[in-house]
């Protein structure tokens, strides 16, 4: 189905600035790396911008990858967007970035394209990143993602089962033209899933810092950083986390993406229950990116709503004072708009009883099993020492 472009298409100052940044990156001798730097949530060009603005720039960069080639350093950003992005145009653009891949796609790239279609089916819209170029005929985000699957063809073969299931369970959610294209895409994927040798294994479920590997001891500054919990109890970072392996993750209660902060805290609550059931001497904690807004009462309600049973080993926290020291010390992917967060990745780390970071999972949704394994490893390492 095609539609006419909505509204007038004058370029805003924001768009012009994005074009300038893209132009500069393209001029760079290592244009791929320069474009990847534009995606970094902490980069100065995102600072003070709205979420809409940062999304728009992300989409523009993803489109460039589709044309210029997708560097391997950009793949985690692309998969992250497909897995948990909320803005339909940005998610569709992430799909297009895969078309620039010169190496075999990770096995989960195809299934993530399908999961993105499923997630967007109640929130579809015509893509915005093409408006200035194409004129009056625009695809919707779902049509665009479908087109990506079609173009990838056998490269997206692992998506076959997920796509067949999507068509079976949600056919009423698509108009006849999209249904036909989805069926065509399914046909293009081939009759059987490609053998795994044709795809790169996705390494994004592995922590970037392996348990027992090159661990990083936290800086002195951070160990004295004061944190306040959901009941108003204050303690330094060191006092709170020393002596017990802890999974620490980050969130803020104003986050409007249910696949990110809401899900993170719900999974943290579930993880805490499993730790209790297994009688492990470990803890979990969530720290807010938005400490001025996320007062203890707000943290308490937010955690309780997501199944948290608070205890010294299971808490939601905020910094007393600025959050920035944590960003620097823990290498967190978060940027801030005029008032609060404008873009953030998923960050989860496991610190051992000596406050060494033993595992750091970024961007991708983590599973409780993986983090339990990280905690077990961190506990074992500590004991061995």
């Amino acid at each position: 189905m095609t539609k006419t472009t909505a509204g007038s298409r004058h370029r805003s100052a924001d768009e012009r600035e994005h074009e300038r940044l893209i132009h500069l990156a393209r001029q760079d001798p290592d244009s791929g790396a320069a474009l990847v730097r534009l995606l970094d949530e902490r980069a100065p060009h995102h600072h003070g911008r709205s979420t809409a603005s940062t999304n728009r720039l992300r989409a523009r960069v993803f489109i460039e990858f589709g044309d210029l080639g997708l560097p391997s350093a950009a793949m985690p950003f692309v998969l992250e967007e497909l897995e948990s992005g909320l803005d339909p145009s940005t998610v569709a653009a992430a799909g297009r970035a895969l078309l620039g891949a010169t190496e075999p796609l990770p096995t989960d790239a195809g299934p993530l394209l399908v999961s993105a279609i499923e997630r967007l089916r109640g929130n579809d819209e015509e893509v915005r990143f093409l408006a200035a170029n194409v004129g009056t005929i625009l695809p919707t985000a779902i049509e665009d993602l479908t087109g990506t699957i079609e173009q990838l063809g056998p490269s997206a073969a692992p998506a076959r089962a997920a796509l067949a299931e999507l068509l079976e369970h949600h056919q009423c959610c698509f108009n006849p033209a999209v249904r036909t294209r989805l069926e065509a895409a399914l046909h293009r994927l081939g009759s059987e899933d490609r053998p795994p040798c044709c795809h790169a294994p996705s390494d994004t479920h592995e922590p970037s810092t392996a348990p027992g590997g090159n661990d990083a001891t936290l800086t002195t500054d951070l160990t004295t950083l004061v944190l306040e919990d959901q009941d108003g109890n204050r303690a330094s970072f060191a006092e709170r986390f020393h002596g017990r392996a802890t999974a620490i993750t980050f969130f803020y209660t104003r986050c409007t993406n249910p696949q990110r902060c809401s899900l993170t805290v719900a999974r943290l609550a579930s993880l805490a229950r499993r730790i209790d059931d297994a009688r492990l001497d470990c803890g979990v904690a969530g720290i807010s990116y938005d400490p001025r807004y996320d007062r203890p009462d707000r943290l308490r309600t937010y955690g309780a709503e997501r199944g948290m049973t608070f205890s010294p080993r299971c808490s939601l926290l905020r910094t007393i004072g600025p959050f920035e020291p944590l960003i620097d010390a823990l290498d967190l992917g978060v940027g801030f708009g005029p008032v609060t967060v404008n873009q953030h990745r998923l960050d989860l780390m496991v610190v051992d009883s000596d406050l060494c970071v033993r595992a750091h999972r970024t961007r991708r949704l983590w599973s409780e099993d993986d983090v339990l394994a990280d905690l077990n490893a961190a506990t074992g390492v500590t004991r061995a020492q």
Binding site: T4, G7, A52, R121, G122, I142, C172, Y293, R295, P338
Partner: protein
């Protein structure tokens, strides 16, 4: 109200339904369309029907600038009602959003406003841009400042705070009040809101908006300011009522009773001639009592 005999009640209701059935099977009140009424076309609709043709027809009416404005607005209303069908409306959602984006710049102000609001409620970036541009360049504004800010305010992230600050400084009346509500999402505005809440020379509505904002943004600061307002017999009844209810609801939810404050409010309850102050004082005292009992 007298007791009702259930068997007789059934008989009466049966007769009433029968009367209605024989009078008319069509819904009254909706404006007519060439192919049914927007409020009525569902009257014969089975829940399994394909919505496609009806959606296409309504979109055509909504975008037809030659149609009567009431027809266009009715079509928009009918499309919005269909949105409540969730998954059943999904196949048409992208086209619906595109249509709204087009209508956001329609020559008819009521159509523009309706479309912009529906987009703003879903925090549509295109609508956001149009609204911000209008605030920046009033000559190209699609809706009045107060309305633009109200729509931008649907985003609780506070991304419109910089624009709201500008409008707050330059405007009076409704636009200034809507700007304040956006600033209420910014913890950095707490000091200003406290000052406004306590400022007797400010409009009552501005003081009350500030008080309501502060209750959420900085409860401690609110409580301190509210105690001062409640205890000040020279202050206005409106802000005293607002402050009292803020304290009452806060107390019910989480705080322990406070003897000094209870005494002040008890005195106020008996001495005030304002019904609003009395009602708020009652609410506060009842909440305190409930809290003590539990």
């Amino acid at each position: 109200m007298p007791a009702i005999d259930v068997d007789e009640y059934r008989n009466r209701y049966e007769q009433e339904l029968e009367r209605t059935r024989t009078q008319s099977t069509r819904t009254k009140g909706a404006r007519s369309y060439t192919d049914g009424e927007p409020g009525d076309f569902i009257a014969v609709d089975d829940a399994r029907d394909d919505l496609g043709p009806r959606v296409a027809q309504l979109l055509a009416v909504a975008t037809d600038r030659d149609r009567k404005i009431d027809d266009r607005l009715d079509a928009l209303q009918a499309l919005s009602a269909l949105e409540f069908l969730g998954a059943r409306f999904s196949p048409y959602r992208a086209e619906w959003v595109s249509t709204l984006r087009t209508l956001a710049e329609d020559p008819r102000a009521t159509v523009r406003r309706s479309a912009l609001e529906q987009l703003a409620l879903r925090q549509d970036p295109h609508a956001r841009e149009l609204l911000l541009t209008g605030l920046d360049k009033p000559a190209s504004a699609l809706v009045p400042d107060a309305v633009a800010l109200q729509f931008l305010g649907h985003d609780g992230h506070g991304d419109a705070v910089p624009a709201a600050r500008k409008v707050y400084r330059r405007s009076k009346g409704a636009a200034r009040e809507e700007a304040l509500r956006i600033l209420a999402t910014d913890p950095g505005s707490a000091a200003m809101l406290e000052r406004l809440m306590k400022d007797k020379s400010e409009k009552s509505s501005v003081r009350r908006i500030s008080a309501a904002a502060l209750q959420d943004l900085d409860p401690s600061r609110f409580e301190k300011a509210a105690r001062r307002v409640v205890a000040d017999d020279d202050d206005f009844n409106e802000i005293r009522s607002t402050s009292l209810t803020g304290l009452a609801l806060r107390r019910t939810a989480e705080s322990a009773p406070d003897d000094a404050l209870v005494q002040t409010v008890t005195k106020l309850h008996s001495s005030s001639r304002s019904p609003a102050v009395k009602a708020s004082a009652s609410r506060f005292l009842a909440a305190t009592r409930d809290r003590s009992e539990t």
